[in-house]
Amino acid sequence: MGEENKAPLVEVRGATKTFPGVVALNQVDFAIRPGEVHALTGENGSGKSTLARVINGSAKPDEGEIYFEGELTTIDTPRQGLDLGVVNISQELTLAPTLTVAENIFLGRLPTSGGRVDWGRLRRDARGVLENIGLDVSETAIVGDLNVELQQMVEISRAFSSEAKLLILDEATSSLSEAATRRLLQLVTDHRDKGVAVLMITHRMAELYAVCSVATVLRDGHLVGTAPLPETSERKLVSMMVGRELDDYYNKREVEQGECVLELDGLESEDGVLRPTSLKVNRGEIVGVAGLVGSGKAELGLVLGGAVKSHGTVKVAGKEVKLGDPRRAIAGGVGFVPDDRKRSALLPNRSVAENFSLPWMRRISNKGILKLQKERREVSQSIKRYGVVTASASNAITTLSGGNQQKVVLGRTFELGGDVLVLSEPTRGVDVGAKSEIYDLLQTAAEDGVGIVLISSELPELLGLADRIVVFFGGEIKGEFTREQMEEEAVAHVAVTGAHADSEEPNNETEGIK
């Protein structure tokens, strides 16, 4: 494409950044050219976010030089970065939740006339941006009322509607479904063709290969190398990231299935997002749940976890469980891991130990008095069993990487010893190494006879792990695939259209719809 010949838009030379106790970047060289989509990748803690922060002005390097369009410059604040045309989209949402979508998109650059906000133009402009991006949300909706994915899309709309020379997408797809991701990737290539440079920080191999022409790999703050794509194989890239060869990381194991352990009959959420659904899961079986955002797949998790009110019958190991309250779900043998770790699972200012034992209160206490010895013992065993990397159980949970935080959340739920596990996006925001560990933990649970409902927006994950995939569309199961029938295209087709690619009648899995 000849991009290699163009002068770099941004070039970083010998960047070093240390934080107390850790060298986040060590003499890293990096360059990105206009019209290039450049992947920045590596495991959590490898320094890729720090490098991005150095470029967008939110972190100042201790050593090293930054050249912007060939000129030596300093980018000390995000404001300076923005003025140069460096726009950041991070996984941390930076929206104002109480304002409308339109106000958020144009935050800081509201159209004015005569010193007053021109509300009419704001709405029209916002409408235009949303249509351009293909986001089906009202410009007058309050951002806080939207779900995480739509919020992320609003954030993305804001970035893409600005005059950017360099777009930095820091794990921007981590809370997006397949379809929204595809839309985002389309936007990325559109902007690339207009000469915008795009820096993508991502763990997801599929999207990396879909749009990036070059990948820079960091490990422990060092530059491992810069590799052309798609010439460099995924295997090679992953081994650069982790510093060792990694086998097929799903590592699907055959598990003997037992009797039916979870039976849903006409289960629906009170708000109607989940329409009456019937489903059976056997012991040892991993049932993958696919679907777009708003398809009802996330709602299925919330209903089974007792987080929202519902109707219909649910039997766990033959016994009926009245859902609608997390306590009853847990008592009934359903362990639930919510999709938004930070919002719904972690106690951010408490220790690893307290985060672990949070749902174990009953087990580690007697008449309301905590048995601290027992708690400490069980926590330290669990830390080992689930491979949580932490110096001490009394460290703050936020000192752990995303992958280790997630292992705590999964581990504490697994340890409840329920018959059914309902996992919503269990590997969201988790690096490659931790992912494969989580897949292993999941299959160990299946081998122990637990029935697993795996809700995920990452199709490869479902294809790699599930014994069966059900696909939600419009609040209902519209497709079901056995392991033999699973094909990415076919599953995605049902998720997007609600029907099978060939116009055959949907299978009998729609029986629960009345």
Binding site: G305, R343, P348, R350, M361, R377, Q405
Partner: protein, 355 residues
């Protein structure tokens, strides 16, 4: 799934380890360090400049003058840990004082009168908790309303009159609680320390205490993990009400009367002590030891100003400035700490609970 029972070989922990899981307790000691250093500095200056400062009599004064603040502060600490706040605590204590004094005046015996005052406080607290947890009304609205209600109620019951009970026999034991000593140790100090130990023990050694931290840190995570959030919230406001009842015993004991008009600074002093003690208003962090230190610190400053003959008009300016400085330093430290964490570990930045 492996059950826990088959894990028969408990891994022996280092015998020297502290008895609690520690969580952030180790960190919170650092959290107190600034206040403790400041307290020592102030005490040192006062010891040198005021010969009467470091005397046992003066210490007893400080204890007597600050016990009400401490007891209310213990209840307030619980509430603040859940990321809530109880603005009604001081005016509820005044209402309890009126009830106690009226009961004595009407010839009630000691036990029924005390039970009435405590039950009155607890019931009012329960009402706060019920409206907040079940009615989903903002804790600010509920407790601000309650503040106003109990303030007014205290005036209404005796038409603004102070109820003197100095001569009531049944009242004597309460008066003695405030004035008597066992040897050199004032009964009131024993009472205070006992309450600190009870509240601290509840916080550290019970599932209820643990739940307070969990709810304050992330209410949704607590709920999804099976904690009965509304029951815990109702209970915590009930306890804050009970603390108001306990505090009224000391207040009435000292005044030998039920006064319908409380010290207007009382509520602010209580909250200031909790804040200075390192309990975070964003919830999930804190403890009663910190609150006790905060109370002592404010008490010593107050005492020092009085001994130094500084006009009482100045005291608000001094303690207000100290509050802002103390909490401001805490914020700075917290900021530096969390930034370092977030950058260094590439981990998620701490976020307040979603309420």
């Amino acid at each position: 799934m492996s059950s826990t029972e088959d894990s028969t070989a408990p891994t022996p922990q280092g015998a020297g380890r502290r008895p609690s899981l520690g969580s952030l307790e180790a960190l919170s000691l650092g959290r107190y360090a600034g206040v403790i250093v400041a307290l020592i500095a102030v005490a040192a200056v006062l010891t040198i400049t005021q010969s009467s400062f470091l005397t046992w009599d003066n210490m007893k004064n400080i204890i007597a003058a600050n016990s009400v603040i401490l007891i209310l502060g213990l209840g307030a600490t619980f509430v603040v840990i859940t990321a809530g706040i109880d603005l009604s605590t001081a005016s509820l204590m005044t209402a309890c004082s009126m009830m106690l004094a009226i009961a004595f005046k009407s010839g009630w015996a000691l036990v029924p009168a005390v039970v009435l005052a405590l039950a009155f406080g607890a019931a009012a607290g329960w009402g706060n908790g019920f409206l907040i947890a079940k009615g989903r009304i903002s804790f600010l609205a509920v407790t601000l309303g309650a503040l106003s209600i109990w303030q007014s109620f205290s005036l209404v019951v005796q038409e603004g009159q102070t109820v003197s009970i100095f001569s009531e026999k049944a009242f004597n034991p309460i008066h003695e609680l405030v004035t008597n000593s066992i040897g050199p140790i004032p009964l009131l100090l024993i009472f205070d320390v006992a309450l600190i130990l009870i509240f601290g023990g509840v916080l550290r050694y019970t599932t209820f205490g643990r739940s307070l931290f969990a709810i304050g840190s992330n209410e949704e995570a607590a709920r999804l993990s099976g904690i009965n959030v509304s029951r815990v919230l109702i209970l915590v406001y009930t306890i804050a009400g009970l603390a108001a009842g306990l505090a009224c015993l000391v207040s009435v004991g000292r005044l030998t009367a039920g006064s319908p008009t409380p010290d207007p600074n009382l509520l602010l002093t209580v909250l200031a002590a909790v804040l200075i003690g390192g309990t975070s208003f964003t919830g999930g962090v804190g403890g009663v030891a910190g609150t006790a230190i905060g109370v002592v610190f404010l008490g010593v400053i107050q005492n020092g100003l009085t001994l130094s003959n500084v006009s009482s008009f100045w005291q608000g300016i001094v303690s207000g400035s100290i509050l802002i400085i103390a909490v401001g330093l805490g914020v700075l430290r917290e900021k530096g700490w969390s930034l370092r964490r977030a950058r260094g570990a590439n981990a998620a930045v701490t976020e307040g609970p979603v309420r």
